[in-house]
Structures are given as C-alpha cells and as structure tokens.
C-alpha cells in the first residue's frame, strides 16, 4: 500500500539499523521513551528492538488512552448504562476493559444495552434513529480523538439532538509528559514524540521539553523506517549535544497542527483543574470536560454517577509499567493471572497497551523458542 510499503523496505531497514549502530556511543546507555502506545505496538509488532544495539533501551510511555483511565471512571460509565432507557456506546477498545463488576462486555451479557461504535458520529446517528432512548457516548482518547467528539457535539447542538450525551474522559498529552519528567524515579535521555496527537496539536507544544528540560524529541511516524529514522535523529542530536524538537513525520504532521480541529476542541471543551490517571495519580490540567454551554450533553451533569475511587489490585503493577519504570514482563501477574483472555489491567486489553503488545509478539516468540524440538 502506498505510504506503507516503502517505509517497510527491508534493505533500507538494515542500512538504517547499521547507521544507528554507528551513531550510538558504545560506552553509553540510552533510554528513549516512546510516548505513544501506537509506537509501543509498532516496536513489538515489527521487532524493532532487535534492530537496535543493546545499549539503546526503549521505554514505553503513557500514551494509551484506555490504559490511563482509572477503573472508577469505567464503573461510573457503567452505572449510567444501568439506568433505564440508556444505550452505552464506546469504541471496541473499551469493551473488555475490566471495571469492578466486570467489563462493558460482561455488563452487556447481563442485559445492559451496550454497543460498539467506530466513531462518535455513529453514536449520534444512533441517537437520531432511536429518539425514545438516550444514547451516551463514553469518550476516551488524547487530542487525536477529542476533536471528533467535539465536532459531534457541535452537530448535536446545531441539530438540537437532546437524547445524546458524552461521558468525557479525554486527556491531554503534554501534562502527562511533564509528570513523567517530574517523577524522581525516571531517567529519560530523549523522546520519540507521538505522531498522530501531533497532527492536531502540532510540534510547538513540545518546545519546553527541549528548551527547559534539555531533552531531544523527534515526532515520529509509525512504520519501521519512521521509528528507526527517529532513533537515528535523536542519537545525532545527543552526539552534537543539542536538544531540539524535530519532525520526522512531516508527510503527516504540519508544524502548526490542525487549526480546524483545535478550533472545534476550544469551542466545546474546557480544561479540568485536575484528573486522575491510572497509576500516575492526579495530574493538574490534564483532561478535558464539556463547557457550560454544552452542559445539556454532558453525561456527568445529566446523570448521577457514584464517582468512587477504586484502588487497583495490589499485585498489579500497571502504574509502574505505564510510567516506564517496569517492563511488562516484570509485573508479577504478567502471563499468569493477567493475560489478554483474562486481563487484570487495561494495558493487557488495548492494542496500544504495552502488556498486550509484549504478550502478543514477544512472549509468544520466546514461548515458541523454548518448546523443545
């Protein structure tokens, strides 16, 4: 396929990998964080770790929307679903994420009206087609999905669709990166910047990372050659003792972002003063809520939700894995109590979750290798 195959070209991959070996100082250990779960997935799926020298460590970041959602929010959403006449809609990614009383899918099996939608626009369509019901959209995601929720709400407003609401869990990426840089147990040399969030916010919001924190950051695409080229660019900056924001993914990411998308977000959302992230605690100004002018479509204001904070199972180490302190396989539950079939944490559910990606690609591989012939 166009724009995919050329960035998977084996010969060029081998050569870029050789260039990375040439650029890396063998006396040094590098820790690069890929902020976005899409990169984590690509790294495992294409086995990119094997193409890097052992002294380059890739640390998985918090950019997995399903993973960072505290269990209490899932419970709150499901509490709304339990009220009569409500249709709960969410992306497929959400369906198997465990809440205290089971996942949305399990609630569906028990009789709740829970449906998968591909887009918030589909949830609005469902509301139009079912005027006797109330359709609630469980919104999650970073700046990649927030504009679509915003536009859908603007449309609901313009058309006067009143049997529709959004349970808003949208989060923003910059405060999460700041929280990671502020946490004392974290040592990161440079960042592989999120590709698709940046199509919306552009590259400017990362400038403080280079300027004030002195860390290089390269906004990167998702194909193997994109990620490898980004690693090479980071190494070059480190070699030259530079720290700047570079854009490897120029074919997709404009430096200024997407103005129309930002405008829609500004029209509908306001920053919450704080929001809880799973495993990372409360981070100030890190999430979006609906503005007062959209109160009518705000599920949090229309329905009463329990709003209870739920602590994660003690043995689960999702927080450490989310912050990049632990690797997935270092969690005590990994592969035994927690598997994709019976997930304990959301990192084992989402395709962007580090545990699921590691399980699907690495764990199987080593399991296969260890089977005696």
């Amino acid at each position: 396929m166009k724009y995919i195959d050329e960035f998977r070209e084996p010969e060029l991959i081998a050569r870029t990998s050789a260039e990375i070996r040439r650029l890396a100082d063998p006396a040094r250990h590098y820790r690069f964080m890929e902020v976005c779960g899409g990169h984590t997935h690509a790294i495992y799926r294409f086995g990119l770790k094997d193409l890097l020298p052992p002294n380059i460590e890739l640390v998985h970041g918090p950019g997995c929307p399903v993973c960072v959602l505290p269990m209490g929010r899932i419970d709150d959403g499901l509490a709304i679903a339990a009220q009569g006449g409500v249709v709960f809609t969410a992306f497929g990614d959400m369906m198997r994420v465990p809440g205290t009383q089971g996942s949305p899918l399990e609630h569906k099996a028990r009789g709740a009206d829970i449906r998968i939608v591909y887009s918030p626009a589909d949830a609005l369509k469902l509301a139009r087609a079912n005027p006797e019901k109330h359709v609630m959209f469980f919104a999650i995601g970073f700046e990649t999905t927030a504009p679509s929720t915003a536009l859908t709400l603007m449309r609901a407003n313009a058309e006067g669709v009143r049997n529709f609401s959004v349970f808003c869990n949208h989060v923003t990426i910059i405060p999460a990166i700041r929280a990671i840089l502020d946490s004392p147990d974290m040592r990161i040399d440079a960042f592989i910047g999120p590709g698709h969030v940046s199509t919306v916010i552009g590259c400017r919001p990362y400038e403080w990372i280079a300027r004030h924190e002195g860390k290089p950051i390269v906004v990167s695409g998702f194909e193997p050659l994109d990620v490898l080229q980004s690693v090479a660019m980071l190494l070059r900056q480190l070699r030259a003792k530079e720290a700047k924001v570079e854009n490897q993914y120029r074919r997709v990411v404009p430096w200024e972002g997407n103005r129309a998308a930002l405008r829609a977000m500004a029209e509908v959302f306001t920053l919450r003063s704080y929001f809880e992230w799973r495993g990372m605690g409360f981070i100030s100004q890190s999430a979006l809520a609906l503005r007062d002018s959209y109160a009518e479509w705000d599920a949090e204001r229309r329905f009463s939700v329990p709003g209870i904070r739920v602590t994660d199972p003690k043995a689960a180490q999702c927080g450490e894995v989310l912050k990049g302190v632990l690797k997935p396989a270092q969690c005590k539950l990994f592969g035994n109590e927690c598997t994709p079939e019976r997930p304990v944490g959301a990192l084992m559910v989402s395709s962007e979750g580090a545990c699921a990606a590691y399980y699907q690609y690495e764990h199987r591989k080593s399991a296969l290798v260890s089977i005696p012939a």
Binding site: G38, S119, P120, A121, F142, L151, Q229, N258, A261, S350
Partner: protein, 83 residues
C-alpha cells in the same frame, strides 16, 4: 485508537453541514468526515481517526523523508565498505 493507516479519497460530497468522503483503506472503503481537512480532494491520501480525517498526506514531504533515509543508508554502506 492512535493507529491509523493512510486511505485514498475516492469521492467526496456535502451532506447537510458536513463533507463526507468515501475513502479506500487497502481492500475496504469507509465513509470518512472531511470537516478537519477542508482542502482535501478525491485522489488525496488522508489519515483518519475514529471516522474523521485529521491530515492530508503530503506527497512531497514523503519523498523528502524517503530520500533522507536513502542518504543515511548510503552513508552507513560507505562506512561498512571502508572497514
């Protein structure tokens, strides 16, 4: 959610308030909203998330990135040759 693949716009039309396109992703086609990429036209490749296109792929930039990769690869080749 943040994983997306490039798709080609086959046709675009206006429906009410929105511009909607038929976009081909590999073997399948989907209806995608073009509200965030008002300048996109049939033949363009777009990157879409949850039903909305967020970016039109810039062919010139794709070629430049690829040329840089080839250049970088050539450097590594030279070094290997020298050894």
């Amino acid at each position: 959610m943040c994983l997306a693949i490039p798709g080609k716009i086959l046709e675009a039309s206006s429906v009410g308030l929105n511009r909607i396109a038929t976009v081909q992703f590999g073997g399948i086609t989907r209806q995608i909203y073009l509200d965030f990429v008002p300048d996109a036209n049939p033949g363009d490749y777009v990157l879409a998330h949850v039903g909305f296109a967020l970016s039109v792929i810039d062919q010139g930039e794709a070629e430049r990135t690829y040329a840089l990769l080839e250049e970088m690869g050539a450097l590594a080749e030279d070094e290997r040759g020298e050894r």
